[in-house]
């Protein structure tokens, strides 16, 4: 198996850019990542690209050739769709392509553009990640689905809205100074608790925003990095993916996410690490409750134990296990098809020491990225490690 290194990483600014086309957004992210890598475009042998609702928001199918062109790349290109985990599954395929020896250089990335349509249309597009017949038709929105999980969690394990609010407060604080983040402002627990309800018990500040943006990485084989004297100190040492029933009603538990656990188990095994080896994480906090169940699914907390991780300070910048130092989906933003790759862009910079928050984790050597689709019917986990 060929070892995989990250030679370059980059993102656009995340936020509302309704007049920028998807091809322009991805072209920018790809340009930044390729420039960061010092890899000639002609050496790129594949493009793995994630996107979820571009067929709805831009009426644009068959996006992979369009995005290859935008990146100035002529390599074979494929679009990956797995809802909010589209970027994660694109990344996993890119890692596997390099590992297998099929290629030495892959451009991997993702893009989403949603502010060019109304909030209602974007919401309807995102709801396509749910079971249309058994969930969406009954009126379940995405906040609604996570609200169902949050209430079930409170019933089974206890916890309060204030516990969840601490996740939002933490992630907003982490985004301060991250010039790519959509929200670079602090919020208070009161702000979260008094925000308008979206789906009881979740309010507006329990939810990540609608985001336009793109991210990209250049992955190379270790041999290619050495032959070309690249500065590529971050390795992808583990990659896992898990699947669960699409509809919540078909799952054994409404509070556990076995897709995350399956993905994590596979990724940890490949990297030969245990959860206790992880120094920092970017996890899929599309809603505050999502960060809680992610940390439990990843094996970092027992079930029912992560609800006060943020409130107690364990997962804050100065805690034992910093989570979402980028600001997470909650404050950095969630350009759906890009998110799985953007997490790795942020972790790469955090580990390399060129992220605004690298000072919080100066000795970190093992990082984990967790990307989830739908109500975690799909999940990917990637392990990054610092190498010489």
């Amino acid at each position: 198996m060929h070892a995989v290194r990250i030679a370059g990483a980059g993102s656009t600014a995340f936020g509302a850019s309704p007049e920028r086309t998807g091809r322009d957004l991805f072209g920018e992210a790809a340009r930044i990542a390729i420039e960061d890598s010092d890899v000639p475009r002609a050496d790129i042998e594949r493009l793995c690209y994630g996107n979820f609702v571009g067929t709805v928001t831009e009426c644009q199918g068959h996006q992979a050739p369009l995005m290859a062109e935008a990146a100035g790349v002529t390599a074979p290109a494929t679009r990956y769709e797995s809802a909010c985990a589209s970027g994660g599954v694109a990344l996993k395929s890119a890692v596997e392509a390099v590992r297998s020896g099929a290629v030495d250089v892959v451009l991997v990335g993702g893009m989403e553009r949603m502010h060019n349509v109304t909030t209602e249309q974007a919401t309807e597009g995102l709801a396509m990640a749910a079971d249309h017949l058994y969930e969406s038709r009954t009126g379940v929105t995405f906040p609604g689905a996570y609200a169902l999980m949050a209430r079930a969690y409170f019933e089974e394990f206890g916890g309060t809205r204030a516990d969840l609010a601490a996740v939002a407060v933490k992630n907003h604080r982490n985004a301060l100074g991250n010039d790519k983040a959509q929200f670079q402002k602090e919020i208070s627990t009161t702000d979260v608790l008094e925000a308008p309800t979206v789906a009881d018990p979740l309010g507006l500040y329990d939810a990540c925003p609608i985001t336009d943006g793109a991210s990209a990485c250049v992955l190379v084989s270790e041999a290619y990095a050495e032959e070309n004297n690249l500065d590529a100190s971050i390795a992808v040492t583990g990659a896992g993916q898990g699947t669960d029933s699409l509809a919540l009603q078909h799952r054994e538990s409404l509070t556990r996410t076995p897709a995350t656990t399956r993905a994590a188990t596979a990724a940890y095994d490949e990297a030969e690490i245990a959860p206790s080896d992880v120094d920092l994480l970017e996890v899929h906090d599309c809603f505050t409750i999502a960060e809680v169940v992610a940390l439990e699914g990843l094996g970092l907390y027992d079930h029912g134990e992560a609800i006060d991780a943020a409130r107690s300070g364990e997962t804050t910048r100065n805690g034992d296990l910093p989570v979402n130092l980028s600001g997470g989906l909650k404050a950095k933003g969630h350009p759906v098809g890009a998110t799985g790759v953007s997490q790795v862009v942020e972790l790469t910079k955090l580990l390399r020491g060129d992220h605004i928050n690298s000072t919080a984790v100066p000795d970190a050597s093992v990082a984990v990225a967790h990307n989830a689709g739908g109500t975690v019917a799909s999940a990917t986990v990637h392990v990054l490690e610092v190498r010489s």
Partner: protein, 127 residues
Amino acid sequence: MREQREDGYDDLLDALESDAGYYLSCPAGHGSLPPRQVCPTCGDDELSTEPLPDTGTVVTFTEIAVPAPAFAGQTPVVVIADFGPVRLTGRLLDDSDALEVGSEVVPTVASSPDGGRHVGARLASER
């Protein structure tokens, strides 16, 4: 506009409308909802039709303040109820004041303003 019929799914809704709901069961006793070619848990293709219990127990619920366009102007309340071998997601058709986790609900059929049929739920205490 007549909505496209969905085999299996609409058959179940027709049955719920007649108070004759059912679920699918494999020889190992795994419950599932139609349409199914095989048991989603074990892959067995011997699926029998079993009567759905008359009532289910609410395990979670939410009132959606920002609804999908099909429910514009409403705040739909959605429940997930446990019927033993299967769970059902349904829109509550009664006032939600008495709703709580543990409430008993009766499955039925509902429609959204745009005509989409789906599973509904009524509080057993209101019947």
